[in-house]
Point group: C3
Chain length 188, copies 3
């Protein structure tokens, strides 16, 4: 009798453990509770011909009807911008940066503002060491939009997840500030 009870307990444990493991190759639902949840801000100052000292981003590709100093018409369609932006913990451009957001965005639609992003958060502080890599579409007129966390290194080794972007502020075509809520669902 004792062994039957033990077996039952074991059986239960087995079911629980199986249920919580990965569902590769199946449609089984996994818990959508992040294993890590971080919020940062980053600040993009686009070079416009007059702000070489402060600019953190520059147009490096443009359609044939555009140039690399002024963002093109038709919702900047075709403009490729490279950036190295400070990351801060709050929404103040002058707060001490905790890392750098580095990569590019390309405006990719004529009718409305939309961009495609490929970039990294690079950390080298006492708080965080390592990088988080992002890719995805940014329909930037939406209040919030989701892109993918496609990998990470160091403290964020093998991370995967979703980052929710929102435009926290912008000033004409020179400055914008993004709030990034990073939710990791795979942590190692």
């Amino acid at each position: 009798m004792e062994s039957v009870r033990l077996i039952s307990a074991l059986f239960l444990l087995l079911l629980v453990s199986t249920g919580s493991s990965a569902s590769h190759g199946s449609r089984r639902k996994k818990a959508r509770k992040p294993c890590n949840n971080l919020v940062f801000y980053f600040h993009d100052v686009i070079y416009n011909g007059h702000n070489a000292k402060n600019a953190t981003a520059a147009i490096v590709g443009a359609p044939s009807w555009g140039n690399r100093t002024i963002l093109a018409g038709q919702n900047h369609f075709g403009d490729l911008v490279v950036f190295d932006d400070p990351i801060t913990l709050d929404n103040n451009l002058h707060s001490t940066p905790v890392g750098r957001a580095q990569g590019f965005y390309i405006y990719d639609k004529k009718d409305i503002f939309t961009a495609w992003l490929g970039f990294s958060f690079v950390f080298n502080s006492t708080e965080h060491k390592g990088s988080i890599n992002f890719a995805g579409a940014d329909p930037l007129m939406n209040k919030t939009r989701d892109i993918s966390v496609i990998g990470g290194t160091g403290d964020f080794f093998m991370a995967r997840g979703v980052a929710t972007l929102s435009t926290d502020a912008f000033e004409g075509e020179v400055y914008f500030r993004l709030r990034v809520n990073i939710k990791l669902y795979e942590c190692w």
Copy 2:
């Protein structure tokens, strides 16, 4: 005797459940059966100086020997193209789009046509909401070629998989249509 039989059954179940779970950090083979399988077409109309109204893509980077209106010689090596292309369920350019393919490709080889792709499928319909993000090499003279699904959002939250591209049609250097068979192997 009864308990021994129970234990054997349990043991078998354990082996099965272990076999189907993820093999992080090991070489164990997982079932390669997709948890989601989708087929779409997308249509790229490249701006050539005369089709501003219909164009869905434009050259925004080119090597020093090229320009941004005509695709460069040497198999377009160095041309960077940004696109916002309609996605359809069948191979008809004029079918109602079910989403947009947005991102870029760069021709990256002098001897033959090959490109590197970074883009997203963006859906906002009753059928699908969310995005699928892709990256990979596209040796476009091959009948089929595989790129990676590197992430997803919304209905495709945390998706991973492989997308098989094939060129369904092309017209000179102005139009091409890709068939995309998306096979997801990680679904949440």
Copy 3:
């Protein structure tokens, strides 16, 4: 008594198997032992106006103060380079290539050399068939730096991991050779 011993053994096995499975949505630590470990070298010869025959890479985007023949000042900030580089097993540029490294890098910082990389290793030999896709920040003055393996196809189907880059050699602004140590932690 026999059954109790059997149950104990089973219990142990269960714990082991559970511990090694994926920790989606949890902070549980996984073993950081690669399921595949590969070392390659790739060789980048940048077009500079005089080496059209040998060049494997070319500048295709530049900031407004730069051009597409000479890498820009300020640590090449804003230069976008497309490449199709030979991959070799040792550090000899003239060894028989085992594949091609194809994609792009963008110099993205004014103060020091740093780039953002998106590229693939494409193999089609008796040894390896398929591709490995990479993305991430490359602070190239560091002795080693980690980027993400974001996916793979063929022999590297669904691969994920980390690649450690180191600059094995460089000659002025025309040639560099990277050593890439690919450590996969998800193998299918």
